[in-house]
């Protein structure tokens, strides 16, 4: 992975930059807000994609939106790059520092500002964790629906930047579908409010475009979210199959019958075994594939839907169904799935979590081909999927201490992602492009597709200073992207037939 060459001129001006940042963000009650010592900086050297590390030039921890505005304006005017960071849980290197960039941490934006049940909305600063929002409204039986696995620590601003999902987005949508408003700061220091407690943005849907923009367009300082009433009942089912293809058919049949479960997860034999040994969730040991199907809503509806799913499953000849009879049991069913990644971590020195999406119907075929690849690369793979929306998370097991295994694991992952694209899917369902998948973007998009996306970045950040080196394999200057090519004084498109 090649990152843009650090600008030596910027690095040589480090002390001037630090001094200016210290003026903008003075020492706070809990110590320095500008971190310059290498021990302090090393805490920021990577995010959740820990294979890539880099010490930032300097870390600044602003406390107000005005400070963020001043920092960005200063960096914009002096040509200094900026990488924003929430909790640093990105799995694609979205918050990977650059040697010549200021890292702007939003950890001090940690206040929930307003809870408004009448409008079913929460206004919060962007550094607040995902889970603490649900906790803050839990007493009134409300919650915030998107629930990424990292929800205990990940920040809501990071969720917006990555358009995070979770196990319940099949029914309740991704971050983008649960977001009402944002306060953002552009590189030029402009503070812009988008949306609010009302629905739909006025003008262009910049709220929508900020969501999933991976920190390339603006810095998010405040977020307004839609909260939902907790469902009256939720029950989970464990369904076992001897054949992965049958499990795939089951997923298709449930959706095809008009049922949208609140979650529908799939695990293969290796994942089942590893999690069972780790958390003892009570998963059966003698099956090939396990489905966890959760249905929520009013009690009678859930009862009715469980009966329908049971019918579908019986028709397919599954030998194993268990329905949760209590909230404790439901949580136990999920405990296994939620611990799947660390469980795999126990049986292998290292693992590489792949994230791609495919059309649901291609699931059995894709599983079979992943299994063949596993033989080819001589690396074990455990499969954990958000089956309901076709989002795959194959976990490739390797040992970084063995020469060439990391590279082989990465090649294996790349081949899986290319397969996802080949069957009509995409490179990433919820972890983002970041640096991890940057160089695969050309497998999905044409040069013109990518240029048009970069032109959007130019609209927000014409100097290309915000999180450069992420998402796009080739960096173009905005002046070049904006140019209309005219040769020898001809019209831009000289050979166009008249319609």
């Amino acid at each position: 992975m090649r990152m843009p060459t650090p600008d030596a001129k910027i690095i040589s001006k480090r002390s001037i930059i630090v001094e200016r940042l210290q003026q903008i963000v003075p020492r706070g009650a809990f110590g320095e807000n500008v971190i310059i010592d290498s021990a302090g900086l090393s805490a920021y050297e990577c995010d959740g994609l820990s294979a890539y590390r880099q010490l930032p030039l300097v870390v600044v921890l602003p406390e107000t939106t005005e400070q963020v505005s001043k920092i960005l304006k200063y960096c914009n005017e002096t040509g200094v790059k900026v990488v924003a960071r929430g909790a640093g849980t990105s799995l694609s290197g979205g918050a990977l520092p650059l040697a010549d960039a200021v890292m702007l941490g939003l950890g001090k934006f940690n206040q929930i500002l307003n809870i408004d049940y009448a409008n079913r909305a929460v206004v919060t600063q962007s550094g607040v964790t995902n889970l603490s929002i649900s906790e803050a409204v839990s007493a009134a039986d409300f919650y915030y629906a998107p629930d990424p696995s990292s929800q205990i620590v990940c920040s809501i601003g990071g969720n917006v930047a990555e358009n995070s999902g979770g196990v319940h987005c099949l029914k309740y949508g991704l971050t983008t579908n649960n977001l009402l408003g944002l306060e953002i700061v552009l590189m030029n220091g402009d503070i812009i409010k988008l949306g609010g407690k009302h629905l739909d943005s006025e003008g262009y849907d910049l709220l929508g475009i900020m969501t999933g923009s991976e920190g390339l367009l603006g810095v998010i300082t405040e977020v307004t979210l839609r909260i939902l009433k907790k469902p009256e009942t939720a029950r989970a089912m464990l369904i076992g199959f001897d054949d992965a293809a049958l499990a795939g058919d089951c997923v298709a049949a449930i959706i095809g019958s008009g049922i949208i479960p609140s979650g529908m997860e799939m695990m293969d034999k290796l994942a089942i075994k590893a999690t069972e040994e780790f958390v003892h969730a009570g998963y059966p040991s003698n099956i090939e594939t396990l489905l966890i199907v959760e249905l929520d809503g009013p009690l009678d509806e859930v009862t009715d839907l469980i009966a329908r799913v049971q019918n579908i499953v019986n028709g397919l000849g599954s030998g194993y169904i268990r329905v949760s009879e209590s909230e404790t049991e439901r949580e136990k069913f999920w405990a296994g799935r939620k611990a799947a990644f660390p469980a795999i971590g126990r049986i292998t020195p290292d693992y590489y979590c792949v994230d791609g999406t495919i059309p649901r119907a291609r699931l059995p075929e894709v599983l079979m081909r992943i299994s063949k690849m596993s033989q080819k690369y001589k690396l074990r793979v455990a499969n954990v999927f958000h089956a309901g929306d076709g989002n795959l998370h194959p976990l490739i097991m390797y040992d970084a201490n063995k020469l060439g295994e990391l590279e082989r694991a990465e090649e294996f992952g790349t081949e899986i992602l290319i397969l996802c694209v080949e069957v009509g899917g995409v490179l990433t369902g919820e972890h983002g492009v970041g640096v991890e998948k940057r160089d695969l973007m050309e497998k999905v998009f044409t040069e013109e597709d990518l240029k048009q996306q970069q032109r959007l970045k130019c609209a927000f950040d014409p100097n290309g200073l915000l999180n450069p080196g992420k998402v796009f394999p080739t960096l173009h200057r905005c002046a070049e992207l904006g140019r209309v090519h005219i040769h020898h004084g001809q019209t831009p498109f000289p050979d166009i037939p008249r319609f």
Binding site: G203, D205, T428, G429, V433, T446, T491
Partner: protein, 407 residues
């Protein structure tokens, strides 16, 4: 009158836009032309009519996905989906009545370009939430695509959101991929009569905060309710406050009982079953018949729901108007025959405190030229909007000036 160009292929759309760029001319993009009255009046030399790009190229019911050309008629989309007990959950309205067209004339591209949504917006979102991907020609004369055919996708910027609601000012979409969903099995509407605006919205708010999974919530003052074609609604001579419950039969029945218990404190609880229920919500969705369709100005105002009643009271102290509420009070439809100018200023100054935005959906071309059709933007937001336009359509070739002057 501008010259009408009717392409049959994507390549022809590309050629037309490139030729327009060569000529330093401009183009108005239409599907069926059913919403041409929405936006600022603007002059273009040519009219790009996409109605012949009308093929559904992919429909996989089990995958809940459809890809269709931008000019595909909404009527065709609805019919194909209905055959498989599926629908568009964002409930796009048919606004043709508002603009003097015949019923059911809109296209899929127009629906996305205007980011339409109906009463179910509060639960299920708008067109932007269902547009999974597209292929389009930019104002630079380049073909580009974004998104895909799967729901969970964060591969690159989500340009589908940007084009939703951009009214053809950034690119001409030639093909759109949308998420579709199973149609609800059963529908029931719970009603109470005679509440004033404030109490009506309060009742809706309490219900939306309950465990009833209400997916539509509207309040019709007496003067609006009398225009309904549903006998139970139009004969009461009173306001109507309504919520819709949908899902499996047993669940709908139980939840309706729950709403009934909650609404014990109000008088005259009633239920509408499938046919009448669908009729009422279609009227609320399509708005034209409820507003009696005579008014020369129709405004669409989006506010935080709890502000709806006060905002209307404030506006009423300055303007004579008819109003009704959807989205639990968060969407206000306002019709007035009053003085031509100044209505927008009054609405928008009332909005300054409440938060939200107002759009002039129908008005004479003179009014739409002198009054801001879309909510005026703060300088920083306008600069950003202009910068986005510059990067998609630097020569102001596509629908120039339809949303904002210079954009």
């Amino acid at each position: 009158m501008n010259k009408s160009l009717i392409p049959h292929t994507k390549k022809e759309v590309l050629d037309i836009i490139r030729a327009t760029i060569n000529d330093k001319a401009s183009i108005e993009i239409i599907g069926a032309g059913s919403k041409r009255g929405w936006g600022r009046p603007y002059q273009t030399s040519e009219l790009l009519d996409l109605s012949k790009l009308s093929t559904v190229t992919l429909y996989e019911p089990q995958e809940l996905v459809m890809t269709a050309d931008a000019g595909t008629r909404m009527e065709d989309v609805r019919q194909i989906l209905a055959e498989n007990h599926q629908h568009l959950a964002f409930e796009p309205p048919d606004l043709s009545l508002l603009y003097g067209g015949s019923k059911n004339t809109g296209t899929l591209g127009g629906t996305v370009a205007a980011n339409l949504s109906g009463p179910r917006r509060i639960q299920s979102g708008a067109a932007r939430d269902y547009c999974l991907g597209f292929v389009a020609i930019s104002g630079r004369g380049e073909e580009f695509k974004s998104g895909g055919r799967v729901v969970k996708n964060v591969t690159g910027f989500d340009l589908s959101k940007l084009l939703s609601g951009s009214f053809g000012t950034l690119a001409a979409m030639v093909s759109v991929t949308i998420k579709v969903l199973p149609s609800p099995e059963k529908t029931r509407t719970a009603l109470v009569f005679g509440l004033d605006d404030k109490m009506g919205i309060q009742a809706l708010s309490e219900t939306l905060q309950g465990p009833f999974e209400v997916n539509a919530a509207a309040h019709l003052p007496a003067g609006i309710a009398k225009n309904s074609s549903i006998a139970r609604i139009n004969t009461q001579g009173q306001s109507v406050t309504a919520v819709r419950l949908q899902g499996p039969a047993i669940s709908v029945e139980k939840r309706c009982q729950g709403v009934k218990a909650l609404w014990q404190c109000y008088e005259g609880f009633e239920e509408l079953h499938s046919h009448n229920s669908d009729g009422l919500w279609s009227e609320i969705r399509d708005i034209g018949s409820l507003l009696n369709n005579q008014s020369n100005q129709i405004w669409r105002i989006s506010v935080p729901p709890s502000e709806g009643a006060d905002l209307v009271a404030k506006i009423r102290s300055d303007i004579q108007c008819k109003t009704f509420f959807d989205w639990g009070g968060g969407l206000i439809w306002l019709a007035t025959d009053g003085k031509l100018e100044g209505v927008g200023t009054i609405i928008r100054s009332a909005l300054r405190l409440a938060g939200g935005h107002a759009t002039l959906l129908r008005g004479s071309s003179e009014l739409r030229l002198t009054s801001d059709v879309f909510q005026p933007q703060e300088p920083a937001l306008y600069r950003l909007t202009k910068s986005v336009k510059d990067n998609f359509d630097p020569g102001r070739v596509l629908n120039p000036g339809r949303m904002y002057e210079g954009i």
